[in-house]
């Protein structure tokens, strides 16, 4: 997102809008990686190889859907808080903790056999193509890493740092969704 400002410039010029795209600085999602989330990277990678029964697939897809929906709701609530000049930090901490927790559960959400062939889902079959498995696992790991890093910043009072980590997390969500999720119409 950040690297595409060249097209925005004429549009912003047209608007005369100031306060255009802000660049988050000091991006280093690696900084706050806990040993725990490194372990999760391994878990995420291994789960893709697992095969599940039809009954388990339905259960996992349901849990995945509910989990993603909760993460989405948390993310929307966070967006409101960070758009506001006075974010409610208690709300931010709760939402960040919930997303981090669900991100760890996400390691078990994508076993083989839980794609569109098993039922209604936004997950593209590309996830389980051999050439994409490593990339998907890396994107899932990036989600877990950025969710943990964002959650860690919320324990302190630096809202600027929170926003930076929040933007990193959003970037991780988008990178995976752009490639591996279908456009859904509810």
């Amino acid at each position: 997102m950040r690297t595409r400002n060249f097209v925005l410039v004429p549009l912003i010029g047209l608007l005369g809008a100031c306060g255009g795209p802000q660049t988050s600085q000091g991006n280093n999602p690696q900084a706050n990686i806990s040993n725990e989330s490194r372990a999760e990277d391994q878990a995420a990678a291994s789960n893709l190889e697992a095969r599940v029964s039809v009954g388990d697939a339905a259960k996992i897809m349901h849990a995945r859907h509910e989990g993603m929906e909760t993460i989405g709701k948390d993310f929307k609530a966070l967006h409101r808080e960070f758009d506001s000049p006075t974010p409610n930090l208690a709300l931010v901490r709760t939402a960040a903790g919930q997303i981090a927790g669900l991100s760890r559960q996400a390691s078990g959400w994508f076993p083989e056999g839980t794609g569109p062939e098993a039922g209604k889902t936004g997950a593209k079959p590309e996830i389980w193509k051999p050439e994409n498995k490593a990339d998907f696992a890396a994107k899932l790991a990036a989600f877990q890493r950025t969710a943990a890093a964002f959650n860690a910043t919320t324990t302190r009072g630096d809202v600027g740092a929170m926003k930076t980590r929040y933007a990193d997390l959003g970037g991780a969500c988008k990178a995976c969704h752009d490639k591996y999720r279908t456009e859904m119409h509810h």
Binding site: L11, L14, A17, M184
Partner: protein, 236 residues
Amino acid sequence: MSRQISHGDAPLSAGRAAAVWDLPVRLVHWTLAGLIAFSWWSVHNHHTDWHIWSGCAILTLLIFRLLWGFLGSSTARFSSFVRGPAAVRDYLHGRWNGIGHTPLGALSVIALFGAVAVQVGLGLVSEDEDGLFTGPLSGLVSIDASDTARGIHEFWFENVIVPLIVLHVAAIIFYRLRGKHLTKPMITGRAIVDPATKPMRPAKWWVALICLAVSIGVVRWVVAGAPPFGHWTPPT
């Protein structure tokens, strides 16, 4: 519908070329067409941030055109083309002579601008499915309201905007088949007109600049989240 076409650069008409559309009207028309196409493309190609800026640019055009409808050249003014059903009936019976929007074409103009205004309004308070992107005024409504607005925003494009664009283009093709060019005057600003018709009264160029400055000012305020009522952080 009557076979008679009352004005325009019909090849057999004994008219002369005269100004019918001023530069601001033409610029708004083509920029709006381009931005609508760009808005559609960007949101379907993972560029929701560009989509939002495109919508803000469209808002600037809408506000400008609204002001120009009161202060612009005679053919740009609402008072010259917003008419009642009697005028539409007269036009359909071939009893209309003039330059600018025909009484029937005016209905299309009003419908298109109205539909785009609704679309921009919905977009301003929307947010995307993941909460990654918010419209500048989404903070003024609840999360549920933003999600509902997004749903209507999608519905409105597919079921109102697209059909109106199809109708608009179909009407242009229809008139073209009957010998009346509508596209070229919208590019050059000039058309062959009946010498008996009242010529376009052009507006001052600096009035257009004032209208543009005002519309940019309003959109800057909207893009800030309409303080003090709300605040908005643009997408990074």
